[in-house]
């Protein structure tokens, strides 16, 4: 079975921000910096990467204007936009509110965030309700 691969096109200079996000999550990675004013990254997720959907969402959170294509057995299709209102789960983003129950070390919470807006990128913590702004999300993910 052929592996799926992905092509991510972002504005020139944005690619390095995504590298940290992709580290250890790909079996192949090609970066083409400033190709016709755009950066392009092509990668094949590694077999251990079971949270591919989350990875693609995170790429969009770091670079909201990213154009993502999926290549599957020769067929190329656009990866659809993540709709506002969608919930994003996982510990790769941490609520910056020090008074939130999700950052209390002994409590068994599974952080969950609602996508409030793409422009600017804004998430809302399910537990404490606080907004998490684009700069904080970018710092945490890249």
């Amino acid at each position: 079975m052929a592996e799926k691969s992905y092509s991510v096109e972002v504005p020139g200079g944005e690619a390095p921000r995504l590298l940290q996000l992709l580290r250890n999550k790909t079996s192949s990675l090609i970066i083409n910096i400033s190709w016709q004013g755009k950066d392009r990254i092509e990668f094949t997720p590694n077999e251990r990467n079971t949270s591919l959907d989350n990875l693609l969402v995170k790429i969009r959170l770091v670079c909201p204007s990213a154009k993502i294509e999926e290549k599957d057995d020769g067929e190329v299709k656009q990866v659809s936009e993540v709709p506002v209102g969608m919930w994003i789960e996982g510990r790769s983003i941490s609520c910056p509110n020090r008074n939130c129950v999700t950052v209390q070390p002994k409590e068994p919470t599974k952080p969950k965030f609602r996508l409030v807006s793409w422009n600017p990128v804004t998430l809302q913590c399910f537990y404490c309700g606080r907004y998490i702004k684009e700069d904080v999300i970018g710092q945490q993910l890249s």
Partner: protein
């Protein structure tokens, strides 16, 4: 919504309930008024657990009185230092343990999202009695019930919320609650640095609630039906100097009441510090003690509806 659909439900945010649910609770609260003194046996053999990790007078005592008046019993603590959490037990474990003892759990905690976590862990319904600066749904239930009793309805009221809107959970919770009603106009009055948080104003925008933000209450007094005053939340300021900077920013005066619309009422979630002087208590505008008293019927209604 029928009474049966309330059974076993958590009450974490006022947004958890629809307008029709709230109206049913108001009706139920009216019914409960007759049991406030002599009680009933509706919840005989049911146990309420109260976990107050933050100070409380009205909320805790009115919950406990409500359960006793409904014929049930009460366990719990108001001083977390006497619980095992003082030795490092997690909130989740504490809730799991209490879940096996109680039919309903009421929790207040300074950590935001604590009540939501408790609701995930417990099988018994969980009622949020205040979490940090976020939600205080039973205060809002009391506030809305008081407005409904005073004016016959909430639609179309012009309501100012005054004070520390950034950190006062009663203020954000009330704004959420009022968004359930039609043609309400909100006047969010605060110093610039203590404005309502953006997640609250975004909700007002999404709900098409008409509102304005200002630091001057005086010019709106002739329009207002309700002046809802809040306390500066001293315990939530990380910098005492910042608290001192805002202390005394707003104080209700007799002159303000003279300039207000006839019939305007003054509400406060209490305790007050210096924002409402004693001389206001005897004016026909003061409603904060009636408001606090209404908390009993409102909480009796809630308990009677959600406890199995």
């Amino acid at each position: 919504m029928s009474n049966s659909t309330f059974k076993g439900r958590d009450f974490i945010s006022i947004l958890d309930f629809r307008r029709s649910d709230l109206e049913l609770m108001f009706e139920k609260a009216d019914e409960m008024k007759r049991f406030e003194t002599n009680g009933t046996e509706i919840l005989k053999n049911r146990i309420l657990a109260t976990l107050f990790f933050e100070p409380s007078t009205r909320t805790r005592l009115s919950f406990e009185t409500s359960m006793l008046r409904l014929g049930g019993g009460v366990i719990g603590f108001s001083d977390p230092s006497v619980s095992r959490m003082s030795t490092g037990e997690s909130l989740a474990d504490t809730i799991r343990m209490l879940d096996s003892y109680a039919n309903v759990i009421v929790i207040r905690h300074k950590i935001e999202g604590s009540a939501r976590l408790a609701a995930e862990v417990a099988k018994a319904p969980v009622i949020n009695a205040g979490d940090g600066s976020q939600h205080h749904p039973t205060q809002t239930l009391t506030d809305l019930y008081t407005m409904k009793k005073e004016f016959g309805g909430i639609d179309g009221l012009k309501i100012a919320i005054l004070g520390d809107l950034r950190q006062t959970r009663s203020a954000s919770s009330l704004a959420y609650g009022l968004s359930k009603f039609k043609n309400v106009k909100l006047y969010l009055i605060s110093p610039d640095a203590l404005r309502m948080r953006p997640e609250v104003t975004d909700h007002l925008n999404d709900s098409s609630v008409e509102y304005l933000e200002s630091s001057d209450v005086n010019k709106y007094l002739p329009e207002l039906d309700v002046l809802y005053v809040t306390r500066l939340q001293k315990e939530r300021f990380t910098d005492p100097a910042e608290y001192e900077k805002f202390r005394g920013s707003y104080m209700v005066t007799l002159k303000m009441l003279e300039e207000s619309k006839k019939g305007m009422i003054v509400m406060h979630h209490l305790p007050r510090i210096d924002e409402i002087p004693l001389e206001i208590d005897s004016t026909p505008n003061a409603r904060y003690f009636e408001q606090a008293a209404n908390g009993l019927a409102a909480r009796m209604a809630l308990l009677s509806l959600i406890v199995e």
